[in-house]
Symmetry: C2
Subunit: 344 residues, 2 copies
């Protein structure tokens, strides 16, 4: 799914030592299903076509193996891993399956469907993982595309710089989505099971919101769409009814939502360290990346015809905007959270 | 996958009462993982895009539910079903996932890969199912496409009417494939777990082989290819190196192979009753069906250019052949086998 172009590459690498340490210290093998005759089950929620998922799964399986060897002596058998790759129905599972590492040490399965609902049987999962996926909402909050609602988001395509009601509609929808996600995972995880989340976010809502380039990149697409509506290429109605189903939380907000779910203890929560040196991709590279991520969404609403012009305009605006010329303006962060399923 | 066009429709319907009866009488809930806190896991091996799989899974889940209610009283909880849909990597899992019944009472997962190997963790599966899939070989036996082998199958594309060595190469490959399939499933199934197989076959090898229309249909494609090579449209080399990776066993042979695996007891084995009245599809309908099944295989070897001509020729030969005018000449059968994983 989608992290900032600055962050996408290094996320797994930056999370690696933390995930390894947490599995070694927090994985409670006594409560896990694998301590009976069962395998050790892992799921990645929002895996896309696997490019960033496979390295993460390798880190998790190797750390779990190490933990089992440490606890049970080097003669104990390696757990039989069963890994579930989840994403929405519209995800390209054919590509995912063809991309599976041939030398993998686990049985791979696809688990299609929205991760805000149940996907796996009760108490069947030992380790849940999700990276750069929980910033996606299940859908655009209905009120923001409704002309008769006080939260109607006309002339904009996201909540940055929009009126308070728009922001609240997004914020409430996000909270509901995360609550549904946690409820489903609490049912699926075994007692003592761990969940590692890597959540795209911003450090605070207090600064001028336009200083966060990640949400602003979407806002910039919005301004291109508004320009095209003014030039008669699109109807204003079309632009007014389009909004991006994405939300960037802050650490305090995420913590509050998680604590409302009684099923988990927060074992660790921190902002992931800057994953490596940030280099500045060209406007063209950034536009190409955003097009790859959002084109499906935009085509669904606007049709294919306007895409080339939209992203031409977008590339030009990006190149001309001083905000995007300095990587230090990139304020998006990744929150790392490790949760443990409380013993029922 | 592929049953005879006569049989494909009615197979699930014909098997329904047998599967229901066997689950009610033979399913040993004491040994099953679901009697602990675990879900009841089912896998369909060779499910294609699900068209014939979904009805079968519904029959199986309903029968298991009924069995649980009968054994444990109507107040006992319904098992939490986890269903694994398996087929080769080249299968269209995107279509399969989009076709999943929206009202299904189970968690669905895809399990990609060849079913002659391991796909699921040890002792994790309660019920295995495979319909019209075990007639596909893992690949064409190498010797039949090898000019230097006594089993070289020149001028033909299958074993019907071919020399003894060709037939033996197919037969040995089939035995190895079924042995691998049984070995993998024996590891995956829990003690006491059941496996229902619906295996395309012929009643006996003793009659003139050309009286079996199903293999002969492939032979007829072969004769079209040979004609095209004679007319210079194809090279003879191309035809000599192409063979269909399909084999139709007989009940006695299948029984012998199964008995060699010590992990299963044969609980029931019979020829499935003629599923409904056989109607005679037109030569065109039969050719269209065969084209849908085999085109991918043929394009891989011969390219796309010759497909229209090949199936034009095939339709004409089929229409002109008296063997295909009478549905009573259709001698293909489906063997039903119910196996139980012996208690380890």
């Amino acid at each position: 799914m989608w992290c900032s172009i600055f962050l996408q590459r290094g996320v797994v690498d930056a999370a690696k030592p933390i995930i390894e340490e947490e599995i070694l210290t927090k994985l409670d093998t006594k409560h896990l299903s694998s301590t009976q005759t069962n395998p050790f089950r892992i799921a990645d929620f929002g895996c896309s076509t696997g490019h960033n998922s496979f390295p993460a799964i390798q880190i998790i399986t190797e750390a779990v193996e190490k933990k089992f060897q440490t606890e049970k002596g080097s003669t104990s058998r390696t757990p039989d891993f069963h890994v579930f790759f989840n994403d929405q129905l519209m995800n390209d599972f054919n590509t995912l399956f063809h991309s599976l590492p041939p030398q993998r040490k686990y049985h791979a399965a696809g688990a299609p469907g929205p991760f805000h609902g149940r996907l796996l049987p009760n108490a069947s999962l030992d380790f849940a993982y999700s990276s750069c996926a929980l910033n996606w909402l299940s859908e655009v909050p209905k009120a923001v595309a409704d002309r008769n609602s006080p939260a109607w988001n006309n002339g904009k395509v996201h909540y940055t710089g929009a009126k308070k009601e728009v922001y609240e509609a997004y914020s409430n929808h996000y909270a509901n989505n995360i609550e549904s996600f946690l409820k489903a995972r609490a049912e699926e995880l075994v007692s003592g099971g761990l969940m590692a989340l890597l959540v795209p976010a911003v450090p605070t809502f207090k600064d001028s919101e336009t200083s966060y380039t990640t949400p602003t990149e979407m806002d910039l697409i919005g301004s291109c769409l508004v320009d095209m509506a003014r030039n008669g290429i699109l109807s204003e109605e079309k632009v007014d009814t389009f909004n991006f189903p994405l939300y960037f939380t802050i650490p305090e907000e995420l913590k509050t939502i998680i604590e409302r779910n009684q099923g988990f203890s927060i074992e660790r929560m921190e902002i992931l360290n800057n994953p490596g040196k940030r280099t500045l991709p060209s406007a063209y590279a950034r536009a190409t990346y955003l097009r790859a991520v959002f084109e499906g969404l935009l085509i669904n609403h606007f049709g294919t015809e306007i895409m080339d012009e939209l992203f031409d305009r977008y590339t030009k605006k990006l190149a001309a905007s001083p905000l995007f010329l300095d990587p230090d303006n990139e304020k998006s962060i990744i929150i790392f959270v490790l949760l443990k399923r409380k013993v029922a």
